[in-house]
């Protein structure tokens, strides 16, 4: 019995190691952030673009309303691509669009919006990128759907037609 114990245990160890490696074989080693989240929105105050005033997130985001927060910059090329989609979303009266101008200067931001249209009701200024980190963002462009002060969805990268229909379904 004792002599049989060692081969049995060695087989068992090999089996465990095999199982661990086999499991991780199928896992992706590229980091993919969660897109379905239910986190509270961060509370902070920030300056608003073109308005010369300071506002807090609790003032901007009211309860029982759908909000879309879009992080953008005039120097970001994908932001230019997704802009028509934001323009069409801004026509939807169930959704309020809030922009966050990421590491940009006022003049360029203004000419960007003059050229392509302004879909945002309010624009938060994020000069040093800390506000977007508070939101758990990675860079530009990034979009959050907010309802009842909770982030219900997060889209990393530019929006496209497919995501547009998904957002429209979410806010129905």
């Amino acid at each position: 019995m004792k002599q049989k114990l060692i081969p049995y245990s060695i087989t068992l160890i090999f089996f465990i190691i095999f199982a661990v490696f086999f499991k991780s074989l199928k896992d992706t080693n590229i980091y993919t952030p969660k897109t379905k989240i239910n986190d509270d929105i961060p509370i902070f105050s920030a300056d608003l673009l073109f308005l010369n005033e300071n506002s807090t997130t609790t003032e901007i985001f009211e309860l029982d309303k759908f909000y879309l927060l879009n992080i953008w910059a005039s120097w970001c090329i994908p932001c230019r691509d997704e802009h028509p989609i934001l323009m069409s979303l801004s026509k939807n009266n169930k959704l309020t669009l809030i922009g966050m101008n990421y590491k940009d200067n006022k003049k360029n931001a203004k000419s960007f919006l003059d050229e392509l249209g302004n879909p945002y009701e309010k624009i938060i200024v994020d000069n040093n990128g800390t506000n977007s980190i508070e939101w758990g963002a990675f860079g530009v462009p990034e979009t959050f759907i907010i309802y009842n002060n909770k982030i219900i969805k997060k889209y990393i990268g530019p929006l496209n037609q497919e995501l547009l229909t998904e957002i429209q379904k979410t806010i129905k």
Partner: protein, 120 residues
């Protein structure tokens, strides 16, 4: 001679006033333990990307607000998940990572001990 003595005392007192270049040491230590999520294999401390620079500013801000090192890790973990920490805590996703080496070590020890006892 007395003037010389006084001069030496003043000189010694002044040399105690050393300046160190470690004002950012706490921030550096924290950022070394945070992964730069948009870089490959770099910590926030090592990276000079937009994301990492903003993280550094935010760590400074949180330290000014009086948060401890641990609280800052928890703060970032809530925002970005376990992946942002280089030293993940023990939870249901990482228990195998932490416990398997210990288990194998104990098992090996048991085999060795057993074979010695068997020999005797």
């Amino acid at each position: 001679m007395k003037i010389f003595k006084n001069f030496i005392i003043i000189f010694l007192l002044l040399t105690f006033n050393n300046l160190y270049a470690n004002e950012n040491s706490e921030r550096n230590e924290i950022t070394k333990n945070l992964r730069c999520l948009i870089c490959q294999g770099q910590s926030v401390y090592d990276s000079d990307s937009d994301f990492a620079n903003s993280m550094k500013i935010l760590v400074d801000k949180k330290l000014d607000e009086g948060l401890s090192e641990k609280e800052i890790y928890i703060y970032f973990k809530e925002k970005y998940g376990d992946w942002i920490l280089y030293d993940p805590g023990l939870n249901k996703n990482t228990y195998l990572l932490w416990l398997l080496p210990i288990l194998i070590f104990l098992f090996g020890g048991a085999i060795i001990a057993k074979s010695f006892i068997l020999k005797k």
